[in-house]
């Protein structure tokens, strides 16, 4: 069975590219455009990995990540933060609140796929 990935971003064009990229790699994909929708989709879609944008309306990626990590039932869920903010403090913050990886935009599609596979490969 294919791994499920939830893509969370408020930039439609980024969602389009990520969705295409991940589908091509054989993953099952769902999409959310803001933080609240992301949490709802995690419940309904039950992804194995979340590609999570940081700067979003309603709830930021940090808040979504914290909410997810607060739920012990989802301990196995992988979280990859995707952000256009590349300062060291922001990377550190993302990792500190429980993200498995932190990828800065613009990213290399090849590298991203490798990271995702690594994270899911162990499972």
């Amino acid at each position: 069975m294919a791994n499920k990935i939830l893509i969370v971003d408020d930039e439609p064009n980024i969602v389009i590219s990520l969705e295409f990229l991940m589908k091509k790699e054989g993953f099952e994909i769902a999409v959310a455009a803001d933080g609240d929708e992301a949490l709802a989709k995690v419940d309904s879609f039950a992804p194995d990995l979340v590609l999570l944008d940081v700067m979003m309306p309603k709830k930021s990626g940090y808040e979504v990540c914290e909410a997810l990590r607060a739920d012990p039932a989802r301990a196995g869920l992988k979280i990859v933060m995707l952000t256009a903010k590349g300062r060291d403090t922001e990377v550190a913050k993302g990792l500190a609140i429980g993200a498995d990886a932190y990828v800065t935009k613009p990213f290399s599609t090849k590298d991203l796929v490798v990271r995702v596979r690594e994270l899911l490969g162990g499972a």
Binding site: F20, L21, P57, A84, K85, S108
Partner: protein, 903 residues
């Protein structure tokens, strides 16, 4: 019936009570819990009210009417100059002044000559005053015993002599009980405050008895008095005696500080400068109360004893006795005794300190006997000298009383003393406020004043007593009429007191000023003058310390202290001094100028500043500083003060500059933080479109098998994101130019209506595509403003494209209106979009903030359009803002000022 023994017993018991109060006060002072409060201090000033007040005021009122009041108006006025008194106290505390003689001597170079002179004047001047107290007690006893017929045989001894002896004994117990010979006596102050209350109560009791017991209140008494032409005169103010009034007010005003007992209480015994401010109103209140019943008593006595031989000076006793009120009479006697005792105790203690420090010590210090006894503790000797002095002063008072007591009424004697101490005024006030006053001047002034006083007041009083011939009063010495003792240089028509005051002060002040101006002070004088006159500025004592140069042995100084203060007290003071300098042990202290000054001040507290100076000089090898050198140091001190003020000012300026710099730095930091944030935000905004471009182009590049329609879609996205990136970069650069002021402007006359029409036209297609209605209300010939046409177009297009972005497709409506109003053109762009909250109305003008994106998803914009537009409008002197409510659309408005009409 008052028996003689009973009266004597009550009197002794009362004195015992005073003594107990004093013991209590001393005990508390020794325990470090002083009972001297502001109220107690103010009450103790009432030692001013002696038996002269108690008996004599009534006597004076029977002849002089209201003039008795002058003696109390003077002090009240003097206390108004509270700053003078505070300065006196400050100086005295700083230099451990022990008496008024010490004060004057210390100011004029610690002169033994001056100290002795002032002491002699004080003793000669005050002895009659002490005699007066003895006379008052004796007279009051006579009245009591004459009434009762119960005079007891005093073992054949004169009763007045016994009184003097008892008072001497009490004074010795009060003032010299302590073995340490310091200048302050808290127990005595407490006792004096207590006796002040007693005498006030006694006097008021008799007054109330006369007014309400013997008459039907004040109005009854005054009506009866007014009925008699003789008494009616007393109730009127006599304008013919205005000169006398003035003289008496001046005299008593000076006496309140310069009488030795007053100086002792006000200055030497003061423990806290703040107490003076209380005394300024409380003491005059006391004087008012004690004078309230003087006139009623005088009138009541004159009415009651009309036609009988009765001494008005004893009305206070005879009036109650005449009504059989023996208890009240006894109370009045105690009141009078109290007043006399208080005065005698304080006055003789003050005088004995002066006699001991300023007459006996200088003589002893020169005697070979004292040199022989080098190691002996002299504090006991000091106490002994004071005790002998007390006894001698009272003996002198008794002798004067026997010899001259009958010649004058009570008030007459008191005024002689007042006039004597008034001679201290020029040297005192001059010393405190005039640096040019010299020792020679002070000596000359005092001698001149004292001579005139003796010739015009003292000797005539002797003549009146028959001791010497009265020819120099009646006809002038050797028949020279213009030297008549009480009409000098033909100045007749004044009463003797005014006459004496006028001529003595003229001579005194004249000699003081004239001689001062013609003499040069020596080094010590000059430095003392500086210290006294500038006492409030001498907080830092650097210059002081530099005014002493020499070598001294610590052992010798400590030896001096132990000799004069006693070993225990000397050790105590040394330890306290060492603590003050942060040393554990005084033996470890260097024997420097500070140490010498400490020792000299301590000695001054015991033996007066002049003797202390001599003693210190005897054990230290002092370098004589010449006058020029002293003046140099003092001058330098003044300059240093000026420099330090300048320095302070500079430091303040520097601190202000530092604060400004810090603020500027803070602002820079804030700007730096803002710039950092801005760059972070800009990079975020640039990375976002770049992300799509990179991801899509990488996929297209790597996978040639992507379906054609996907390729077309992806390339479309890449193109539009590249376009967005370009716009973003352009706007960032544009904004940076605007903000840094480097933007280029082409300013000319612009038809704003035309600009808006063109902008609407260029965006027409966009509106039509989205199905949004665009309405316009623009004058045919639009208002013309001075601006950059392209920039204004940029603003209008920004507003129009924002509006179309936020209104719903199909039902959206946007209305544009251009109108000229007072001095400006107003352009409105109103839409029927989702509207903005009050908060958003502010934030939409911030960089990279995009409002109203919840309904339509992420709006396509850079977030820089409105900030740029606002910069442009503000450049032209206008405003750009938005008015909106959520759900009711938004109206963006900008104004541009119309050019001023040409004159």
């Amino acid at each position: 019936m008052l028996s003689g023994w009973f009266v004597a017993l009550v009197a002794m018991a009362y004195l015992g009570l005073l003594f107990a109060v004093a013991r209590f006060g001393d005990a508390r002072a020794d325990a470090g819990r002083s009972i001297i409060s502001a109220n107690l201090y103010a009450l103790s000033l009432a030692v001013y009210c002696t038996s002269w007040t108690f008996y004599g005021s009534v006597g004076r009122a029977t002849s002089g009417g209201l003039s008795f009041l002058t003696i109390y108006l003077g002090p009240t006025l003097m206390l108004l100059f509270v700053g003078v008194i505070i300065k006196m106290v400050r100086i005295s505390k700083a230099y451990r002044i022990t008496s008024i003689a010490d004060f004057i001597a210390s100011r004029y170079g610690k002169s033994q000559l001056l100290a002795g002179l002032v002491t002699v004047i004080a003793v000669v001047g005050i002895v009659p005053y002490i005699a007066l107290q003895l006379k008052a007690i004796a007279a009051s006893l006579d009245v009591l015993f004459a009434h009762s017929g119960g005079a007891i045989a005093w073992w054949g001894v004169d009763s007045t002599f016994l009184i003097a002896a008892v008072l001497a004994l009490f004074t010795i117990l009060f003032g010299t009980r302590h073995l340490d010979a310091t200048e302050r006596h808290e127990g005595m102050v407490a006792a004096v405050a207590f006796e002040s209350v007693v005498k006030l109560a006694a006097f008021a009791a008799v007054g109330l008895f006369v007014v309400y017991g013997m008459h039907d209140g004040l109005s009854d008494l005054f009506q009866r008095a007014a009925a008699s032409p003789e008494l009616e005169r007393l109730l009127r103010l006599d304008s013919g005696r205005a000169g006398t009034w003035t003289a008496l007010i001046v005299l008593s005003g000076l006496a309140i500080v310069f009488l030795p007992r007053q100086f002792q209480i006000i200055v030497v015994e003061n423990v806290d400068e703040s107490h003076i401010r209380r005394a300024v109103w409380l003491f005059p209140l006391y004087l008012l109360l004690i004078n309230l019943f003087v006139l009623p008593l005088a009138l009541g006595g004159l009415l009651h004893f009309a036609g009988q031989p009765a001494d008005p000076d004893t009305f206070v006793l005879t009036l109650p006795l005449s009504q059989g009120a023996e208890g009240l009479a006894l109370f009045a006697f105690i009141g009078g005794l109290s007043a006399a005792t208080g005065m005698v105790i304080v006055e003789t203690i003050a005088l004995s300190t002066m006699v001991c420090n300023d007459l006996a010590m200088p003589w002893l210090l020169r005697s070979t006997w004292l040199r022989a006894e080098k190691r002996q503790d002299l504090s006991g000797l000091l106490i002994g000298i004071r005790r002998v002095a007390i006894a001698l002063i009272l003996l002198l008072g008794y002798v004067y009383y026997r010899a001259a007591g009958e010649a004058y009424a009570l008030v007459g004697i008191g005024l002689i003393s007042f006039a004597a101490v008034a001679q201290f005024a020029p040297a005192m006030f001059g010393g405190m406020y005039w640096k040019q006053g010299t020792r020679a001047g002070a000596v000359a002034g005092l001698l001149a004043g004292f001579a005139v006083w003796s010739y015009t007041l003292l000797l005539p009083s002797f003549a009146r007593s028959g001791w010497i011939g009265g020819g120099f009063v009646e006809a002038g010495p050797f028949g020279i009429a213009w030297l008549k003792a009480q009409a000098l240089f033909g100045l007749a028509g004044l009463d003797e007191i005014s006459h004496c005051l006028w001529w003595s002060l003229v001579a005194n002040l004249g000699a003081y000023v004239a001689v001062s101006l013609h003499t040069r002070p020596d080094a010590v004088e000059a430095s003392q003058a500086e210290r006294f006159v500038d006492v409030f500025r001498h907080a830092g004592r650097d210059a002081e310390l530099r005014l002493w140069r020499g070598k001294a042995s610590g052992d010798a100084l400590v030896g001096l202290l132990e000799r004069f203060l006693g070993v225990a007290r000397a050790r105590q003071q040394l330890a306290a001094y060492a603590r003050g300098r942060g040393a554990g042990d005084w033996r470890a202290l260097p024997v420097d100028a500070g140490f010498v000054q400490f020792a000299e001040a301590e000695l001054a507290g015991a033996i007066g500043s002049a003797s202390a100076r001599v003693m210190v000089a005897s054990v230290a090898q002092e370098e004589d500083l010449g006058l020029d050198e002293v003046l140099g140091i003092l001058d330098e001190a003044t300059q240093v003060r000026a420099y330090s003020r300048e320095l302070e000012a500079k430091q303040r300026a520097l601190e202000a500059a530092t604060a400004e710099l810090r603020e500027a730095n803070e602002r820079l930091r804030e700007l730096d933080r803002l710039k950092d944030d801005f760059i972070s935000t800009v990079s975020h905004e640039l990375r976002t479109p770049l992300t799509s471009i990179r991801a899509l182009s990488e996929m297209l590049h790597e996978d040639p098998r992507i379906a054609l329609d996907d390729r077309v879609r992806f390339l479309g996205i890449i193109v539009s994101e590249a376009d967005r990136l370009t716009r973003l970069i352009n706007q960032i650069l544009d904004l940076a130019k605007l903000e840094s002021g480097r933007a280029e402007w082409t300013t000319g006359e612009v038809d704003l209506g035309q600009v808006v029409r063109e902008a609407m036209e260029s965006l027409g297609q966009l509106y039509r595509d989205k199905g949004v209605a665009l309405a316009a209300d623009i004058p045919a010939a639009g208002p013309v403003v001075l601006a950059d046409r392209d920039r204004l177009t940029q603003v209008v297009i920004n507003l129009l494209s924002n509006a179309v972005k936020f209104v719903p497709g199909g039902s959206g409506r946007v209305a544009v209106r251009v109108a000229a109003e007072a001095g400006r053109v107003r352009v409105e762009v109103a839409d029927n979009g989702p509207g903005l909250t009050a908060e958003e109305c502010g934030t939409v003008f911030e960089k990279f903030r995009q409002g109203g994106n919840t309904l339509t998803g992420k709006p396509q914009g850079t977030g820089l359009g409105l900030p740029i537009s606002r910069q442009i409008i503000e450049y032209f002197g206008g405003n750009l803002w938005v008015e909106s409510l959520p759900g009711q659309g938004a109206t963006f408005i900008f104004t541009v000022p119309l050019p001023a009409p040409e004159a």
